[in-house]
């Protein structure tokens, strides 16, 4: 390594045979080293004095080959992430060729889902996915923002860590356990108490008509909302923390109340990041499988009522994949997976860019 040698300013132009050839990056580093080593009288006795370190280093060779190959292995591992994405894309396209060729784009605009006669249209699942995700966002976003505002701006310092920990605990619960809880607790509540009440008071919107079995769009959205809450709130918290304190102090010094400070000083500055956090929550909601499969009722229909059973892109794969015996059926399900993959990639990419735009320059803090 070049940095192990010392270069004396006086003899540097001609008398240092070591610096340029030992590595490409050393040229830029050499002057800095030379400056800091102004007073060191080491170079004259470099070749003569016995040194354990030098012997050790000489015994090990330059290490250049080892360095290069190590870097190459690390690079290979890093590139494996690209490989994974490309492999998923490739294999999904390859296995859904059958329906891609047979239906083309009409696959996503027709609502016939009839495996027996070989007719496949994914519209009901797209509708189900969009409806459940949007309803979940509608419920989760205000709550998540409330939690984030409370934790970063309002709550006493001692409560901050426990509340953050508890909300993150929500994220650690596996989705199948959410599903289990939803099946045995949320579904009966929906069927016996909440559902009839909604039908009585909001029946005029016609969103709550029809038979209510407890399983349906609304129940799935509620469990989804609970599941995406911790993601949105913890990201929003990070983003709001990235707003500098001087900003808050400035607004407060102008005589604002605390809420006005939060609104004009914090929320307005971090709105791009918050939108990004919401979109990350949306990405999670779009692809959530197990809990939704267990409570949505699994029926490919488009109905105005929120009580009606439906199906999402992810839940139809989970529910029907093991029944898919003929090639077209399997190919249709894999094409749904492909659509899900592409949509979530786009949503996540946009969301990440938004979150990065806000938090990148901020100093990393850990509370």
């Amino acid at each position: 390594m070049s940095s192990s040698r010392m270069i004396i300013p006086g003899e540097s132009p001609s008398g240092s045979p070591t610096s340029p050839k030992s590595g490409t990056s050393s040229a830029a580093a050499a002057p800095a080293v030379a400056l800091s080593m102004d007073t060191a009288p080491v170079s004259s006795e470099r070749s003569s004095a016995p040194s354990v370190i030098r012997d050790f280093l000489r015994g090990r060779g330059s290490g250049n080959v080892a360095d290069k190959s190590f870097a190459a292995i690390m690079l290979l591992c890093a590139c494996s992430i690209f490989a994974i994405v490309l492999f998923i894309l490739f294999i999904l396209v390859a296995r859904s060729k059958l329906t891609l060729a047979q239906f083309g784009l009409t696959f996503f605009s027709t609502s016939a889902w009839d495996p027996v006669s070989g007719n496949f249209g994914a519209l009901p699942f797209i509708y189900g996915t969009l409806m459940t995700s949007l309803l979940a966002l509608l419920m989760a976003v205000p709550l998540a923002l409330g939690v984030a505002v409370f934790v970063t701006e309002l709550c006493p310092r001692q409560l901050r860590a426990p509340i953050s920990f508890l909300t993150e605990l929500l994220a650690a619960i596996p989705s199948v356990v959410y599903g289990l809880w939803a099946v045995f607790v949320l579904v009966p509540i929906m069927r016996d108490q909440l559902g009839p009440a909604l039908a009585r008071y909001f029946g005029w919107t016609q969103l709550f008509g029809g038979a209510n079995f407890g399983m349906g769009l609304l129940t799935a959205s509620m469990i989804l909302a609970i599941m995406i809450l911790p993601i949105i709130s913890s990201l929003t918290r990070d983003i709001m923390r990235a707003v500098p304190d001087s900003q808050r102090e400035a607004v407060l010094a102008l005589g604002a109340t605390r809420w006005e400070m939060i609104r004009t000083g914090v929320l307005r500055n971090s709105r791009i990041g918050i939108v990004g956090a919401v979109m990350l929550g949306l990405g999670r909601a779009l692809g959530e499988t197990m809990a939704v499969t267990m409570v949505i009722g699994n029926h490919p229909s488009i109905s105005r009522s929120l009580f009606a059973p439906a199906n999402t892109l992810a839940s139809v794969i989970a529910g029907e994949f093991s029944e898919a015996t003929d090639d077209t059926y399997l190919s249709a399900l894999i094409e749904i997976g492909l659509a899900l993959f592409l949509v979530t990639i786009v949503v996540n990419a946009v969301a990440r860019l938004m979150v990065w735009a806000v938090t990148r320059g901020a100093p990393a803090r850990s509370i």
């Binding site: 409330g146 409370f150 934790v151 989705s175 356990v177 099946v183 709130s233 809420w259 692809g287 990639i345």
Partner: protein
């Protein structure tokens, strides 16, 4: 003293005008504060509801047979999930064996070699995006790649699916932990003539190892509860199976199957299984907290 009356006249008039305004503003302030508190309570409510109900239902149906017996046929009482617990262990060990080294190496690249490079940014971005890809997509991709070719479900395929899910998480946490290692520590090693790869392994990685272990445990905890990628890869099994080329039981899969079944006895077992699963995950998260408390070498303010 001549300035005093002027000041008073300046300040008093706006005050009187804004009295209602100020009341309105403080009122809104209080209202929004109340809303934020309410939101926090509303968020914590389902957490406690889920955990308490789970403990109540799970603890009452948990017994020794759960850990020592295999699933019983319908109608027979008793039975347990011994094979599922062992099966989950096998799949997770496989996944960690494949996913952890790749994830750590990729994180090492990002922190030690890829700083400020376009490729580094691209890898980081792709890892973040891959993190958000639904687990069911991983499931059907691995199904298409391995299961369709081999013509049978296998524990190995389940391990691959979970490993793919672990890689991006571990990569990102490893990178973040390595970035916390002060540059001066690296410079000290390089200054002693240690080669770069040795510095990365014995100095940077060593220093950041508590944080990296934390990251690995978090990734482990995350995939331990995944069901969707195992549905079409590990598939599940009612009996003991230790072969990597055979379908294998897994705890989340078994919970799913029992939860949607119509039998009370199986529901009971599902609750017990969920409690055990949560217990395992919480245990690893708590371990993580202990490790994280030890912390990495901080400083940089030399």
């Amino acid at each position: 003293m001549s300035t005093q009356p002027i000041q008073a006249s300046i300040t008093r008039r706006p005050l009187r005008v804004s009295a209602t305004n100020r009341m309105l503003r403080t009122g809104i302030n209080r209202f929004v504060t109340g809303l934020a508190v309410l939101a926090t309570l509303l968020v914590l409510a389902p957490l406690f509801a889920i955990l308490l109900y789970l403990i109540y239902k799970g603890a009452s149906s948990l017994n020794l047979a759960f850990f020592t017996h295999n699933p019983a046929p319908v109608g027979e009482p008793g039975g347990g999930m011994a094979n599922s617990i062992v099966g989950s262990g096998i799949i997770l060990a496989l996944a960690s064996f494949m996913g952890v080294p790749v994830g750590i190496c990729a994180g090492l690249y990002l922190a030690e070699f890829g700083r400020g490079k376009l490729l580094g940014d691209a890898v980081r971005f792709t890892a973040d995006v891959l993190n958000g890809v639904p687990s069911i997509v991983m499931g059907i991709s691995v199904y298409s790649l391995i299961v369709m070719r081999e013509r049978h479900f296998s524990a190995f395929a389940g391990g691959v699916a979970l490993a793919i899910m672990m890689v991006p998480t571990i990569t990102r946490t490893t990178e973040e932990m390595l970035l916390q290692v002060p540059m001066s520590v690296r410079e000290a090693a390089l200054g002693l003539g240690v080669s770069k790869w040795r510095t990365a392994l014995s100095v940077s990685l060593r220093t950041a190892s508590p944080g990296i272990i934390t990251g690995c445990m978090l990734a482990f905890a995350r995939v331990a509860g995944e069901t969707a990628p195992l549905l079409f890869t590990a598939f599940g099994n009612q009996f003991w199976s230790f072969a990597l080329t055979q379908p294998i039981a897994a705890l989340p899969l078994q919970i799913f199957v029992y939860a949607i079944s119509p039998y009370d006895e199986w529901h009971r077992l599902a609750w017990a299984g969920a409690l055990v699963l949560i217990g395992l995950i919480m245990a690893s998260v708590t371990l993580v907290r202990i490790f994280a408390g030890r912390g990495t070498v901080r400083g940089g303010r030399s």
